[in-house]
């Protein structure tokens, strides 16, 4: 690990100022991903700005829903009474992620900013467009590796089936976003509250993470000098019929092959509203807008769910080892919808 300096800040403006003054600095919160990246030489900071003492841990009801401080721990949020009652989808998704130890460390803001677990991204001897600027070109003696995408034509069993080729002639990166929590927050239409040198800004969750396009290095639309302070979840009518389904290689403590966050508002057996998002399939939490729209006003039956799943898979593309996701994803969606409509 390269040496870096360390500063502890106690207010959000001080945190933003510290980062603005030294562009090579990084915020350190739970550290569960950043410390790992430091050890592997993927992130080489000049300075770490320890934000763990900022007063951003509150979880509180607001007139429009729930506000969760960016430094609330994943385990605290998952077990919080208001979250369990109003947003069981969020609680389930959080508890499906990582281990009890990591959930005790990881924060809500950090969870949103965690990097992909693509093996090519983590190994600095292998080509990766997410780690190294595409413009750098191959083998130019970059300090942390060559450009290119090792996963294209390589080991890509865990990789994306949606959105990698959006806006580009050929994909530059087929990595997936690893979070479970973010899949639930996408379906719950959360808002991310951030603060920067110019003050506060609010970002709709669907606009927070981005597709790789020409710039796979950039995971989110968060500015380099901005700090996440909270996430707001608007009240909804989905709590009674929501499910987070995570399909993975072992029963616990593994990243998703495919996950589905499904929330339905039912009137009798008719679907009034549907919210659907998938994890493990794209560079960002993958919202299924078309399938949601299709389900509105339809009966909650297996046949309807299957039609929705077919719609959801439009534009999906496999890259070899992950071709199985083209079948697993629609099947998981049907299963999640079935579970969401089954009385507990």
């Amino acid at each position: 690990m390269n040496p870096f300096s360390y500063a502890r800040v106690t207010t959000p403006p001080a945190a933003v100022a510290a980062r603005t003054q030294q562009p090579g600095s990084y915020f350190l919160a739970g550290g569960t991903n950043l410390v790992d990246l430091l050890k592997r030489g993927v992130v080489v900071p000049e300075k770490l700005v320890d934000i763990t003492r900022l007063p951003l841990t509150a979880i509180e009801a607001t007139p429009t829903g729930l506000r969760i401080g960016a430094l609330a721990k994943n385990s605290t949020v998952a077990d919080h009474e208001l979250v369990r009652r109003q947003f069981p989808l969020l609680s389930q998704a959080l508890n499906a992620g990582a281990s009890a130890q990591l959930r005790n460390m990881a924060t809500v803001g950090g969870n949103m900013l965690q990097r992909t677990r693509c093996a090519y991204f983590y190994d600095t001897s292998l080509p990766c467009n997410k780690r190294v600027p595409v413009q750098a070109g191959p083998d130019k003696g970059q300090p942390n590796g060559p450009t290119g995408c090792g996963a294209l034509g390589g080991y890509n069993r865990m990789h994306a089936i949606f959105g990698a080729d959006a806006g580009v002639a050929a994909p530059k990166c087929i990595a997936v976003h690893p979070s479970d929590m973010c899949v639930a927050l996408a379906a719950l239409e959360a808002t991310v509250v951030v603060v920067g040198p110019k003050g506060e800004r609010r970002i709709a969750f669907r606009d927070f993470h981005r597709l790789p396009g020409d710039n796979p290095r950039q995971d989110t639309t968060l500015g380099a000098d901005e700090l996440i302070t909270a996430v707001e979840v608007p009240a909804n009518e989905l709590a009674a019929h929501s499910t987070y389904l995570k399909v993975r290689d072992r029963a616990s403590y593994a990243f998703a092959l495919v996950s589905v966050a499904a929330g339905l508002q039912l009137e009798g057996t008719t679907i009034r509203q549907a919210r659907l998002a998938m994890g493990g399939v794209a560079h960002k939490p993958w919202r299924l807008f078309e399938a949601e729209q299709f389900l509105r006003g339809k009966p909650a039956t297996l046949a309807t769910f299957q039609q929705a799943a077919t719609l959801a898979m439009k534009g999906a593309k496999g890259y070899g080892e992950n071709d199985f996701k083209l079948t697993l994803a629609p099947n998981s969606l049907v299963e999640a919808l079935t579970l969401a409509t089954t009385p507990a």
Binding site: D50, S99, A100, Q101, L102, N104, A251
Partner: protein, 211 residues
Amino acid sequence: MRDESQPLPEPGQPDPSRRAFLKHSSALAALALTPPVALTAIDHSLDERLAAAFEQLPLQVRINGQAQQLSVEPRVTLLDLLREQLGLTGTKKGCDHGQCGACTVHVDGQRVNACLTLALTTEGREVTTIEGLGSEDKLHCMQEAFLRHDGFQCGYCTPGQIMSAVACVREGHADTPEQVREYMSGNICRCGAYANIVAAILDVKASGQKV
């Protein structure tokens, strides 16, 4: 390979610990196989001098009930601080990447991976390691349960398993075998003692003992 100038331990006196023996014998074996350049570097303690040149920051933290005033380099993890600087080697380094749970300790009562915790972030916190759980005279009830149920084979993951198990019961996540398996999934045991580990945890939970 013992130093002949030192007297043999008297009968009845404790033998040098297995750990001290391993340290000595492996260091000697390593020296015998090390090229001369590296030997010169070791001789002049070059790596220590390099480390000292890096920024050292003060750290006040309570470890196993004892207030510690330390000087720590920013890169040092809680795991390395415990093992290398404080000699608390009960906490194990397995993967060093938060994937195995061998380094599980409690910070302010919460179980965490010490390998992913930078030591400086524990300023003002209370850290409990396996050494602080019970005492040599009186083991913690979870330690006794692991012995009773044979919850280990090689023992390397055991301190982490026990720290995690104590937290699992305290959190209220030890009601059923399924729940214990789910909430202990961050602790990997390559010997495969899982069945006995689950039994030990459920036993402690069922006994109603204070953990």
